[in-house]
Point group: C2
Chain length 332, copies 2
């Protein structure tokens, strides 16, 4: 098409100011042929502009924000994700997980992914050690099952696991790290069971030598997370579960810097008796964590998500329809 033909279809963008900029950005963005991303961008521009209006944001403050986000992006690499950390510490990650992965009663709750998940994972078999480079770590035997909401075991579930060593560091945070350690994936057996030998996780501060650390300091907030083990459980047909187990009684149990702790994910450390020690080939008295994960079917999750979305948005006064499980405006 000729430029003049294309331009004729655009709104006339001239003399924009605080009173008319928002509607004009909406207008020029409304040519987006994808209804979902059009809706997302409309809401993004709305809230971004309302934020500037509510605060009467100054040019200096705007520039400080630009620089903060730029630094947050620049400090990211293959093994550090500061933008996720920012989302975590502002409560956005927990909110999105809660919206996108609603859990019916009786199923295992999800929580924040955190910035230390990686895709380079060794496969381990049941009973394997997952931590090698941590001589001071207190050994722990972790014994789990995976079931559906009808208490039927699910075999063939891929379980990703990652945890800190006894100093509170993930492998990717250690300068001496070359191969993945304290992380792996396993597959649940025909009884839906999986078990491994790790170390007792400890509470640790999230990385606070970067922009997010500066922000927490400004907010007079501490950077600590209570001790936990991360899990992702996935199998086609089931809603992918991103979760973690937290050690009950941790100093930071009710002040997690990233808002992840849930009562149903708090676990006690027990000790292996003779029978357990024999069965899992560990010493009597070894620390033990037991947990039974319950997955929701993809279909049930999709329906619950769509139902929640429609109800929540109608409460907010938005008339929506659900396409591919996600809401878009319902325009007559």
């Amino acid at each position: 098409m000729e430029p003049s033909v294309v331009l004729a279809k655009l709104p006339k963008l001239l003399d924009l100011n605080a009173d008319n900029i928002t509607e004009n950005v909406h207008l020029i963005n409304s040519k987006n042929p994808d209804v979902r991303s059009k809706y997302i961008m409309e809401r993004l521009v709305h809230h971004l502009h309302e934020f500037a209006r509510d605060t009467r944001l100054s040019t200096d403050e705007w520039m400080a924000g630009i620089q903060f986000l730029t630094e947050t992006g620049k400090i990211c690499d293959d093994e550090r994700q500061e933008m996720v950390l920012l989302s975590d510490t502002l409560g956005l990650s927990l909110l999105v997980d809660s919206i996108d992965h609603p859990k019916p009663d009786g199923s295992t709750e999800g929580t924040v992914l955190g910035p230390f998940h990686t895709h380079n994972l060794p496969e381990k078999a049941n009973g394997d050690k997952i931590m090698h480079n941590d001589p001071d770590g207190t050994p722990v035997l972790v014994v789990c099952t995976v079931k559906d909401v009808n208490e039927q075991p699910i075999k063939g579930v891929r379980i990703e696991i990652w945890e800190t060593d006894s100093t509170g560091s993930y492998d990717v945070q250690r300068t001496d790290h070359s191969v993945p350690d304290g992380r792996c994936f396993m597959i649940s057996d025909h009884n839906g069971a999986f078990w491994f030998k790790g170390v007792v996780p400890v509470s640790y501060p999230i990385p606070h030598d970067g922009p997010v650390g500066k922000m927490l300091k400004m907010l007079s907030r501490h950077p600590w997370r209570p001790a936990h083990l991360h899990f992702i459980l996935s199998r086609p047909g089931y809603d992918r579960l991103i979760t973690a187990l937290y050690l009950k009684g941790d100093t930071y149990e009710t002040s997690d810097a990233v808002f992840g702790v849930k009562s149903s994910l708090l676990i006690d450390l027990s000790q292996a008796d003779e029978s357990l020690a024999k069965k899992y080939d560990v010493k009597v008295g070894t620390k033990v964590i037991k947990y039974d994960f319950v997955l929701v079917s993809e279909q049930e999750s999709l329906e619950l998500r769509a139902k929640n979305s429609k109800e929540a948005l109608e409460l907010l006064g938005h008339k929506v329809k659900i396409i591919n499980g996600l809401p878009v405006p319902d325009i007559d």
Copy 2:
């Protein structure tokens, strides 16, 4: 203080979900001793969470956003500021300028700074050439004055100027660039006058080989800006004016990708007659741009900003007081 003493003052963060996460993030952030940044963070978290709620943002969409912002930060360097470009293309930059630099009638309007402003500028004297490495550029004589709202000339104003060459590139975009070109600063003379020789600017696409370019493509938007010259005028006692002059009749006059064009900033290209040619040492027929800038005093700008802020926020239902010219909640 003992950790237990510090922690006792915190809200109990446990079992957070879509219904209660926002108030708890507000609570933990409310220990910030600085009232202004506390207010900004409260509004930021509010709108960030409302955005996720309005859209029922999915984990995949959240991750796409995280990656987009990460890439936007990572592509930035000393000479490319993609985060500013993002703000510009979403209309935020224009909005913030409009809020923070209100212009009373009769004064020159501001507009977007854009991502190509640099701090490394040669000083030029009146009549100097500011563009050297552009043999194909059409020469233009730019003759300006700076006055206050009472039409009194202002001497000693620092004027920063930057423009594209005839290919639509700023110096920092050229691979062969080593020293600043097409940019400088000058000081207005005792008559408030300044003049220089540049090239006629041309319309150009903003950098669209990065994340912002992808976003514009998704939005079916073109990346073009109409031809313009950038100016920053500053002198203690006056509100710093970030502005630009746009060539009237440009193809993109009413569809600027960053929403910057204002009728009062549109200028005609004229031609030097014999008298002008003689006075400014250019050939007869040389293209000429004339403009008279009008600056507002810092005091007047501050008062207008405070008045606008109070009115706008009361209209939004926020009870505020103004501290250092910026609003914070007025809590009895």
